[in-house]
């Protein structure tokens, strides 16, 4: 690890913190997907909260604030919480969401009671145990980070090896079972991996906000890809970046790490939800706007061509009248066409420029092709499920089919 610390242009302690937070972010990102994708994000929340009494009990038992033993306690308590949730779901009529609520609140209450008791004993060792609530990445030791990295590497290796069983059992439980997978075992294993992720992050992010570290990377990565095999590494990357940035900021500002990391993550999720290509809100709005604009100007273009065929160049309002289009649409369409250099103005009358005539010709031919498709398309058998796109028939069907279509239409191509 030494070389990595040397590599970063940061003071030694900061470098350790950043690397530690990056490791926890990577682990939480990859393993968190195992909770988010099956829609069990709040199981992660409950597990993180149930880890807290484990920390307290480990301290009471060992009487020392040794991170390793505290985290073992956290892990054991998390697993007990997980088993309790499964038990409640299976044996009673309580629904999973209620089971999560029961386990989360009862374990967390126990944790708070124990922590309060510990701090009232006046044991000088106990100072700093409350960092397990909101997290404190500052003060991580190189030794701690090495343990975290080892755990993370092991857990991520498990995911890589179990990739197919995990994918099959999350996506299609019944099918996975029908081809002989022990789905329950896979689910238990993935819960255990989730506990590992929580143990890795508990000290730096804290029990209360750990869930955000599990959810944020997957939500952001899901915006960017439709494939699990890309989502997992992407989530790891995003988690690592969020962790590192958040930890550095919190160390500089001397505030608890958990909230800073969560705020950083929120920014990332917001950006992904708004801007992701394809799925992002802004992206989609821009695409729809573009589509509307194209449709409007090509409609106005064809209307203008028709009007020019019928008589003298029209004014915009005459064109609107003739084409039964709102005057505002016609004005905007003409503006766009004019900007593209397709129009010539003659006082307030409009004509097509040379390139405008060519564009109108292409548009009309597209329409003619579409009518030919509607009329004769059924006789063409593409032999697969090629989807005709009314805006670009040639592009969507391919040249061969389009040539056959034109031939069927009596070679109606000027």
């Amino acid at each position: 690890m030494g070389w990595l610390i040397d590599l970063l242009p940061l003071p030694y302690t900061d470098a350790v913190v950043v690397i530690g937070a990056a490791v926890l972010g990577i682990a939480a990102g990859v393993l968190g997907a195992l909770a988010v994708l099956p829609r069990r994000s709040l199981v992660g929340d409950a597990l993180a909260h149930s880890a807290l009494p484990g920390v307290a009990i480990a301290f009471l038992v060992t009487g020392a604030k040794d991170p390793a033993s505290l985290l073992v306690g956290a892990g054991i308590a998390g697993l007990i919480g997980a088993l309790m949730m499964v038990g409640i779901e299976r044996t009673s009529r309580i629904r999973p969401d209620a089971a999560i609520g029961v386990v989360l609140s009862s374990f967390f209450s126990l944790g708070i009671v124990l922590l309060t008791y510990i701090s009232s004993t006046g044991n000088s060792e106990q100072a700093g145990l409350e960092t397990y609530l909101f997290g404190q990445a500052a003060g991580l030791l190189e030794r701690d980070v090495a343990v975290m990295a080892g755990l993370a590497a092991g857990a991520i290796a498990c995911v890589a090896i179990g990739f197919r069983p995990l994918k099959a059992s999350i996506f299609d439980r019944a099918f996975a079972a029908s081809i002989g997978l022990r789905v329950r075992v896979v689910e238990l294993a993935s819960t255990a991996l989730l506990v590992v992720a929580i143990v890795i992050g508990l000290r730096s992010v804290g029990a209360i906000l750990m869930v955000a570290m599990l959810i944020v990377p997957t939500v952001a990565a899901r915006q960017l890809t439709n494939r699990l095999s890309r989502l997992l590494p992407l989530a790891g990357l995003i988690g690592g970046a969020v962790g590192a940035v958040g930890a550095l900021a919190s160390a500089r500002a001397e505030v608890p790490t958990g909230p800073v990391i969560v705020l950083t993550g929120t920014v990332v999720v917001l950006a992904a939800v708004l801007l992701a290509p394809g799925r992002g809100v802004v992206w989609q709005a821009a695409r729809r706007r573009g589509e509307r604009r194209t449709a409007r100007s090509s409609g106005v273009l064809i209307d203008l061509e028709t009007a020019l065929h019928a008589g003298p160049p029209p004014t915009p309002s005459e064109l609107a009248m003739a084409s039964a289009r709102p005057a505002r649409d016609v004005r905007r369409g003409l503006r766009d066409l004019g900007r593209a250099g397709l129009l010539e103005h003659d006082g307030d009358r409009v004509r097509l420029s040379e390139s405008g005539a060519a564009a109108a010709h292409t548009a009309l031919e597209g329409r003619r092709l579409w009518s030919a498709w509607l009329e004769h398309g059924w006789r063409l058998d593409p032999g697969d499920a090629r989807e005709p796109d009314p805006r670009d028939l040639r592009g969507s069907l391919g040249d061969d089919l389009v040539e056959r279509l034109i031939a069927m239409d009596g070679g109606a191509r000027p």
Partner: protein, 256 residues
């Protein structure tokens, strides 16, 4: 198909299944011959899906025994491809159409090993067979209802299983694709001797393409070769004599 192979595809003995108080399958004995295309026919709620799931060991039976290709259901699972009536999958899951069909190869490739070139060829062929080749890269939720169904039929094809168990595989699939897929199933039966057992509501089609039929309504009403089993008498016993619409349905069934 008249002479069933020595080992039947599915054999059910005294099968009784109940979800709540009253049984939805009662003492059903049924045999589906291997190397044949068989259909289970009966009204809604008559226990067809339950019969298939009990045969595959996916719901526990109160009594009775199911044998698949001569083995107990548990051990035969790998030799069977099953398409349930309605897929309970997560349609938002980050998975492409192609990856779904690739899952059909897991039983033979295993959970870890890479797909071999031949597996990829089988996947491609299965996708082509259901006409979903051009959609291979789409996320599974970005398909129409019938296209989704086709993907799961493709996955079953990709399994190259000896026995295909299909629960209303053509629900929501257009007539042309249905005809093509039925032709494909018949081809699998004739060329490779594979067995097909499906639930299908269209009596007309059943009469035309299927070899063997089980009429079911909680109990097994009749079973045997289509010609001698799908008599008006037996259909009335399965669907209920006084039911409105039976005559039209029967008329339609006989019309072809």
């Amino acid at each position: 198909m008249a002479a069933p192979h020595a080992v039947p595809a599915i054999e059910l003995a005294h099968m009784t299944v109940s979800y709540g108080a009253s049984p939805v399958l009662w003492d059903v004995d049924a045999t589906f011959p291997a190397g044949a295309m068989s259909a289970i026919v009966g009204p809604n709620g008559s226990g067809k899906s339950t019969l298939l799931r009990a045969a595959l060991g996916l719901v526990p039976a109160d009594a009775g025994r199911a044998t698949i290709l001569g083995q107990p259901a548990r051990e035969a699972m790998r030799r069977v491809a099953y398409v349930p009536q309605r897929e309970a999958v997560d349609w938002d899951f980050p998975i492409t159409v192609r990856e779904v069909v690739e899952m059909g190869r897991y039983p033979s490739v295993g959970w870890i090993r890479r797909l071999r070139a031949e597996d990829r060829a089988i996947v491609d062929e299965s996708l082509e067979r259901v006409g979903m080749g051009p959609f291979a890269g789409r996320q599974i939720g970005q398909l129409s209802g019938g296209q989704r169904q086709r993907v799961f039929v493709a996955r079953a094809l990709a399994q190259r299983a000896e026995l295909l168990v299909l629960d209303e595989p053509f629900a929501g699939i257009d007539a042309r694709t249905e005809a093509a897929l039925l032709g494909l199933l018949a081809e699998l039966r004739d060329r490779e001797g594979r067995s097909v057992v499906m639930v299908h509501h269209d009596l007309q089609t059943v009469r035309e393409v299927v070899d063997w039929v089980l009429l079911l309504n909680v109990r097994a009403v009749a079973s045997g070769p289509v010609a001698t089993t799908m008599t008006p008498e037996n259909l009335r016993r399965a669907y209920g004599a006084g039911e409105v619409g039976l005559d039209e349905r029967e008329g339609a069934a006989w019309a072809g």
